[in-house]
């Protein structure tokens, strides 16, 4: 039964891909706030009304830090759109990030008013589940970044499955608990929720449910995404994965951010995460 749902997801993906292209903007903005959420997680806020008006959940920015000595911009999903975290119309945008390397290390040190160069909107964004189809989010740690904006865009309250190594890596847990229909938590050390990987509560949730009634949307580390793919595709469950990779440009030119996918010729293709993703249907991936 893979075929029916797989082709639906692929069709939805193609429909998205042929939407009229939106102009990519390159703006210099100032940090409005850069709030530490503990354990190296931060919520960065800036305002860019023109970009905020065009951006959809699942799209991303390339953010540069002028004068920092960091050469390339870094990719970050949009976490908050206007209205996600607060009701205002001033073009507020938010990025959730964790300090992982030099780039995010410098970003974490920026105070209010510091300049950022922001390129966006980039990438395709999520395909919203049809009304009546329950969105089931699976997030691994900082992979929760794109879900607040998406939660607000869904017509049916989503189920949130939130996994991480430890309690400190669930930076938006309270927010999801108050905005999702159901929030199930798993940590590898058992410090909050059940002990183990997030796939365990996911499989339990799926048990006995008709795959036509829900759709999976996952973002997190590659091994987690592989596991979700391996659950969803054989069972014929619609599943979108939001991917991440090192990239130099963010708009399709460096071809640095590719992921192996099933090509039309039956061989592996290398698909750019930045322009053909970051959201891809799970069945397209060849890893």
């Amino acid at each position: 039964m893979t075929g029916a749902y797989a082709s639906t997801a692929a069709q939805e993906f193609l429909q998205r891909a042929i939407l009229p292209k939106i102009m990519i903007l390159d703006k210099t903005v100032a940090v409005v706030s850069n709030e530490a959420l503990g354990n190296g997680n931060f919520l960065l806020t800036f305002a860019e009304p023109e970009m905020a008006a065009e951006m959809v959940p699942g799209q991303f920015f390339m953010i540069g830090m002028p004068g920092s000595g960091i050469l390339l911009r870094r990719p970050f999903s949009v976490c908050g759109l206007p209205g996600t975290f607060e009701n205002d119309s001033s073009g507020i945008l938010q990025v959730l990030y964790k300090v992982m390397g030099q780039g995010t290390g410098v970003l974490a040190g920026l105070g209010d008013g510091a300049p950022l160069t922001v390129l966006g909107p980039l990438g395709n964004g999520f395909t919203l589940p049809q009304p009546g189809v329950t969105p089931v989010f699976v997030a691994g740690g900082i992979g929760s970044a794109p879900f607040p904006a998406l939660t607000k865009a869904c017509s049916t309250p989503p189920v949130m499955l939130y996994g991480a190594r430890s309690a400190g890596d669930l930076p938006l847990l309270d927010w999801f608990r108050s905005h999702c229909g159901e929030t199930l938590v798993a940590t590898e050390d058992g410090s909050v929720g059940e002990k183990g990987l997030v796939t365990a509560p996911l499989l339990r949730w799926m048990e006995g449910r008709d795959p036509a009634t829900y759709a999976l949307i996952a973002c997190g580390p590659d091994p987690m995404l592989r596991a979700i793919r391996n659950i969803a595709v054989p069972a014929g469950i619609r599943c979108q994965l939001s991917l991440e990779a090192h990239m130099a440009c963010g708009f399709g030119v460096c071809i640095g951010c590719v992921v192996p996918t099933h090509g039309e010729d039956g061989e592996v293709d290398y698909t750019r995460i930045c322009v053909d993703g970051p959201v891809l249907p799970a069945e397209k991936l060849a890893w």
Partner: protein, 309 residues
């Protein structure tokens, strides 16, 4: 304040200004129309094209390093036929010089690609990529072996009437020897440099960061190396040089011009700031105006080396 003459000629191609974009950093040009007016550029050099499309290397393909980046894309490209059918007709609508960067796994493949491109309407020239460090089939052997370089250049020269630019590898003991070989084989101009072979290691995992193990280093980190090689080649051959290596601003352009380049290519900067190449054109014009320099050509080879001691 004068309005400076920005024109420059390389390999018989008249460029409205000396700022071109480097192969592999500017796609097929059309990806940049959100960010800049292509008409502002002296020229653009396409992503490396082969006779047939190529899928490239497995990821990870890029990583930032101090003041630069390593890439091992593996020459992923749409192939010459798709370029001619889908990209070049759209590029013809712009008033800028389009140069096709070409590579092959074998001499025959280079020749085939050049033959397919010869006579294409709207193509100003061919840049032979004999120096990609990232694939066994990327022509690197042609870039590091003087006899092989001469031979493939000569064969391509016979296949096309288009101006032929040979892009030199810096990964050689003496780049002047390679420059002479390319010139003797019929190159109209040289572009230099391609990326330097480098490697980054993930020390926690004890693995190379890039799946290809090594990659090509670009960005400001290589600029002094590239300026030095430009200066060396300038003294070895008389044919025009296009300088490449970590150009981020107009002053960087001037550095290459003084060292002997007649034009430059902006590379990694286009990843950082998509409008960088056009921004640099404006900046360079202002730079010349502020100094009352009437023509950008006055700078070419204008380096003054004081006597030692």
């Amino acid at each position: 304040m004068v309005t400076p003459d920005m024109t420059t000629t390389v390999a018989g191609i008249e460029f409205k200004n000396p700022v071109l974009t480097a192969s592999g950093t500017f796609g097929y040009g059309l990806e940049f129309t959100d960010f800049l007016d292509l008409d502002r550029l002296g020229g653009l050099v396409t992503k490396g094209l082969s006779a047939a499309p190529r899928k490239g290397n497995p990821p990870a393909r890029v990583v930032e390093t101090p003041a630069g980046m390593l890439n091992a894309i593996g020459l992923q490209n749409i192939g010459v036929p798709s370029f001619l059918a889908d990209k070049l007709p759209k590029l013809r609508e712009y008033d800028t010089k389009v140069i096709a960067n070409v590579f092959g796994a074998t001499e025959a493949a280079y020749v085939e690609a050049c033959r397919m491109l010869d006579g294409a309407e709207g193509l100003a020239g061919i840049e032979l990529n004999v120096s990609c460090p990232n694939t066994e089939e990327g022509g690197m052997i042609f870039g590091v072996d003087p006899a092989a370089l001469g031979h493939v250049t000569r064969l391509c020269r016979k296949e096309t009437k288009l101006p032929l630019i040979v892009k030199l590898s810096p990964n050689v003991t003496d780049i002047r020897l390679m420059a002479r070989c390319a010139r003797d084989a019929g190159a109209d101009a040289l572009s230099l440099v391609n990326t330097f072979v480098g490697m980054a290691i993930d020390v926690e995992r004890r693995r190379p960061v890039l799946a290809n193990v090594c990659g090509g280093l670009s960005g400001p980190a290589i600029r002094p190396l590239a300026v030095w090689l430009t200066w060396q080649v300038r003294q070895a051959v008389e044919i025009p040089i296009i300088g490449i290596g970590g150009i981020m601003s107009a002053r960087d352009v001037v550095e290459f011009l003084l060292a002997g380049a007649s034009a430059v290519q902006v590379g990694t900067a286009s990843f950082v700031t998509p409008s960088a190449s056009a921004d640099i054109v404006t900046e360079l014009s202002n730079w010349l105006s502020e100094r009352n320099i009437a023509s950008v050509r006055e700078l070419i080879g204008g380096l003054e080396v004081p006597p030692r001691g």
